[in-house]
Amino acid sequence: MDDKVSIGMDSRRITTTQRETTRPFSLKRQPRLGESIIQGFLLFCGVLSMFTTIGIVVVLGSESIAFFRQVSIVEFVTNTVWSPQIDEFGILPLLLSTLLTSTIAMFIALPTGLAAAIYLSEYASSRARSILKPILEVLAGVPTVVYGYFALKFMTPVLKAVFGEANVNIYNMASAGLVMGIMIIPMVSSMSEDALSAVPRALREGAYGLGATRLETAIKVVLPAGISGIIAAFVVAISRAVGETMIVAVAAGAKPTFTFNPFEAAETMTGHIARISGGDLSYASIDYNSIFAIGLTLFLMTLGLNMVSRRLVRRFREVYE
């Protein structure tokens, strides 16, 4: 015991004597080459996503500029004919069918998704949740090309049976839109459910204490409290519908048509990009440039929607302690 202490004392004495001769042990941060290299690599990984965005903007922008040298922007946004063979480049028919299919999809997805979210968050027992949630997750994980198959081989025949064989085209926007709505339900319900579950329990208990029924609590207390998240879910859902490609490529038709009739075939923006780039495409043609102009329009639309969604969340968020 004594030995150990003396050794300890000894070594301490040595260090104190050394302090005068050598540099003192510094507690300051020391440069470590290995750590800096690793940190540099990690920073690169983080910054790579910036390059992706810059890449998207530059690629879409530069090819679109090449397109707009040949076609005026005014023609692009006002012409109702898209027919590259006869030099007609009006985005309106493509835009209209995108909006039509998305609107149909939203009529299905938003109410159903919200109602499902309310059920899951306010009504369902934990047992029911454990069955229903995985089903919705599976539905969300089904690849979109499979939904395309479903639209063409199931929804279209059903629509034909209901509205008459002659009234419904084999390729039509309604069937694509309806199936797209089904595809988006899980997304709306899961995002909205998150928003509803985040509402503090005390609010619900307060409502029950005042004699409100479960429905009144859900609709008049919980729903308004979670509205920011729900609106965000809705906006993201719209952006998802606008950008959806495979369902419309399979089921909505392969010819740009300016029509308001959902039972007609009409190609959407995404469908057109997929069809044109799927064929043998010459890189020097105006067809090639034109899909980038459509892509830019699509990108700006979805980016705008996503930004609106984020702004809405910040604006209407209720902060609870």
């Binding site: 690629v59 109602a115 499979v146 198959y149 429905l215 990009i273 979805t302």
Partner: protein, 416 residues
């Protein structure tokens, strides 16, 4: 006090009116509860309908007819011929060139009797599909099918067939739906996914570590974070266009393998598709990775620092091992997204018809979803059967991946 109570009461329904009020509110509640429940059930119904429609096309009766009458080939029925006789039949009835090609692929001596038998069927008898039926029709309308076959195709052979067979997985693409398989597409998908993971995993985890452990709350890092969130919302087809310009065209010497001495003509290769997919799933991977890293308790890091570990030692030895199950789960989810993605592959230029197996990262390729898209778009009903079979293959792949993810999550969440 009593006056206040009376005032409140006078504004509220009393007695019988109160009972009626409560009863009607309860009724409304019950009605809406049913509505909410049925909205949730819609998901279940949609999923069942989808599965039913796919399975309905996978099995069913097929009426086929041989282009050549089997009776003309030999005195005996071909089922009773032995291997040598079958080879003789092949030799007699095929063009000499075609037979030599077969012999070169695999000598007849090395082929088994059943292989030769299949060759006779395929090359000599050439079965033609006359008509196909769905599982539902085959099940409930057998009599009508029999009658139709008897009147319309008296020569035809009617058999119940599963379009999804082991052969479907191992045979390459063909323009004849009876003999088409997904081998090339399956291999293409697996190659693409493997390379995607190879690139995306280190970069995704690296970015997640940077954002959670190193990034201070300044403007620059906030922009990176916002940017990643925005990228997660960009439609997949836009990534396809980015990949087309950057990977297929600009980096063509790299993606066509020219600088590695494996020239495949142009940049429409597996590598180009994988890099595109990498960009597509990176935002998802980063966001999931961040959540996993954030869930590691701060005390672990503090203990490690307290023992004198450097920042990277702390991350490598303590944060990452604890976050790994979450990171894996996130990766699997991102990968299953990539397996099912079709639009970017179309734009990047996956081939729709290709029969040779991909032999490396610089090969031309096709993928399962592309094959499904291609077959779904064909008007002939036979293709709906093989499209459905390919969908089953794809869904089984995705479901097993997801099952692994769920298992991982359950296994490791118990431990923690």
């Amino acid at each position: 006090m009593t006056t206040l109570n009376d005032e409140i009461k006078s504004g509220l329904p009393q007695g019988e009116a109160a009972r009626r009020n409560v009863a009607s509110r309860r009724r409304t509640g019950a009605i809406w509860r049913t509505i909410f429940l049925s909205a949730t059930i819609i998901g279940l119904i949609a999923l069942s309908l989808l599965i039913y429609n796919v399975v309905n096309e996978v099995f069913g009766y097929v009426a086929t007819e041989y282009a050549v009458d089997p009776a003309t080939l030999s005195d005996k029925p071909i089922d009773e011929l032995n291997k040598d006789e079958l080879v003789a039949v092949l030799q007699d009835n095929m063009r000499a060139n075609a037979f030599r090609t077969l012999e070169r692929d695999k000598p007849m001596a090395d082929r088994s009797e059943s292989e030769v038998y299949d060759l006779v069927i395929e090359r000599v008898l050439k079965p033609q599909t006359l008509e196909t039926w769905t599982l539902r029709d085959s099940w409930f309308n057998k009599a009508a099918i029999d009658a139709q076959v008897a009147s319309e195709f008296p020569e035809a052979k009617l058999e119940f067939r599963s379009w999804l067979t082991a052969g479907f997985l191992t045979t390459p693409m063909s323009s004849d739906p009876l003999r088409a398989g997904v081998r090339t597409a399956l291999l293409g998908s697996l190659w693409m996914i493997a390379i995607t993971i190879l690139f995306a995993f280190p970069i995704g985890v690296g970015a997640a570590i940077y954002l959670e452990e190193y990034a201070t709350d300044n403007r620059f890092n906030r922009i990176i974070q916002t940017n990643i969130n925005n990228l997660a919302g960009v439609p997949s087809i836009i990534y396809g266009m980015l990949g087309l310009v950057i990977f297929v065209r600009t980096l063509e010497p790299l993606t066509s393998g020219r600088i590695f001495g494996a020239d495949s003509g142009n940049g429409r290769t597996i590598v180009a598709a994988s890099l595109t997919m990498m960009l597509l799933i990176l935002p998802i991977m980063i966001i999931n990775g961040q959540e996993a890293i954030r869930a590691v308790p701060l005390s672990l890091r503090q203990a490690s620092y307290g023992l004198g570990a450097t920042k990277w030692q702390t991350i490598w030895h303590h944060v990452l091992p604890n976050a790994l199950p979450g990171i894996f789960t996130g990766t699997i989810l991102a990968v299953s997204r990539a397996i099912g993605e079709t639009a970017p592959l179309i734009v990047v230029g996956a081939s729709t018809f290709i029969v040779t197996d991909p032999d490396g990262p610089f090969a031309k390729f096709t993928a399962l979803p592309i094959q499904i898209y291609n077959w779904t778009s064909r008007p002939q009903p036979e293709f709906a059967h093989i499209a459905a079979s390919a969908i089953v293959v794809l869904l089984v792949m995705l479901l097993s991946l997801n099952a692994i993810a769920v298992l991982l999550r359950n296994r490791f969440s118990k431990r923690g």
